[in-house]
Symmetry: C2
DNA sequence: CTACGTGATTACAGCGACTGAAATCACCTG
DNA sequence: CAGGTGATTTCAGTCGCTGTAATCACGTAG
């Protein structure tokens, strides 16, 4: 075993989540994270663009799965149903990770800077979803609205999944949230 | 006229928008903004929490109008129609400000840090909207979903309003976007 | 006119996030 | 064993942001 332990990125991510959880995001310095991972501050910034990004390492993989699932489904079903397929796919990805995901979310919810980054990642997913919808013939503004709706359903379903006590099927919560959205957007009489 | 010119906050906001537009957000230092406003860096931070916040001075007023309009309308119409009333109200607030708003939005869109802050403000509006809906008897998860949908319609309608060439009624674009959302969420057959 | 209170502004020192450049290190290859 | 390569480190520096205490402009009471 060499002097350089393997998986520096992972060690940094683990150290960061631990420290953010223990003493809070703002009270943790990047130097402390690096030291716990057996590295230096400069090396942290070689692996992650900033102090926030270390919590979002899996975001790209998540987005890719979501968008690819929706994109595939669009070949055979309507946009709103394709979104349901995507939501089901990411449910499969997160199932079994609830404790880990919950710890991460607790850190994010405790700090506005991290919430901002979280929202930016979701906005990126929305933009990529809208792009996929457009490539499959959905016109604006329907494409952007459908994408935003899909992300909104994810947000709400995700929140309910984390809040649930016992074992709880995430995919079921996602489908329920989507149905609720359909109900609430269909509910009015029109006021103009 | 004393040595202290009036309206320091406004001068800082104007100077910031000018400099962010001229040379970009990242290339502008807070010291430069303060100097253009005839003040010091420290005084900037007495008025604004950080370098981003100076672009969002009117956000609170905007949120208040939106939420109050929806809240009032909820006394007599369904949630989705109450959101339509709120969207109409903020359209009235922004009408006539398009050039100014467009300049601000150009700066925001050119920088991820500012997009993050923008998204956080919208999330705050969504949370407050959901709260109003709950106070009027809407249960979760419908309240959160309706609030997210309302903000999504605003985002899309706002973007289209800024992109439009000639004079264009914002309230009409908002209504069209809302109708598009209704259409796209009602479109599927269900896949499960 | 002077003393004093008040709120805004400033000066100053300092921490921490982040960056660029160059040196060093571990390892692999010819 | 010499040399190349990529990861890590060292170092110096900029800038966002904060706490503290001094100073300033102005209104008011004596």
């Amino acid at each position: 075993m060499g002097r350089w332990e393997p998986n520096a990125r992972g060690r940094l991510a683990t150290a960061a989540l631990e420290l953010y959880s223990e003493r809070g995001y703002e009270q943790t310095t990047v130097t402390e994270i690096a030291k716990r991972a057996g590295l230096t501050e400069r090396t942290f910034f070689n692996h992650y663009a900033d102090k926030r990004e270390v919590l979002f390492a899996t975001s790209g993989e998540f987005q890719e799965l979501f968008v690819r699932s929706v994109s595939d489904a669009l070949k055979s079903v309507a946009p709103i149903d394709a979104l349901a397929v995507g939501l089901d796919a990411i449910s499969g990805m997160l199932t079994g990770q609830r404790d880990c995901v919950r710890a991460r979310q607790a850190v994010i919810m405790a700090n506005p800077e991290l919430q901002e980054r979280d929202l930016l990642k979701l906005a990126s997913i929305s933009a990529t979803l809208a792009d996929a919808l457009r490539r499959h013939g959905v016109t604006e503004p329907a494409a952007s609205l459908a994408a935003e709706a899909g992300v909104a359903v994810f947000k709400v379903g995700f929140e309910r999944w984390l809040a649930a006590d016992g074992e709880c099927e995430m995919s079921r919560l996602m489908r329920e949230s989507l149905d609720e959205l359909k109900a609430v957007t269909a509910g009015g009489q029109g006021v103009f």
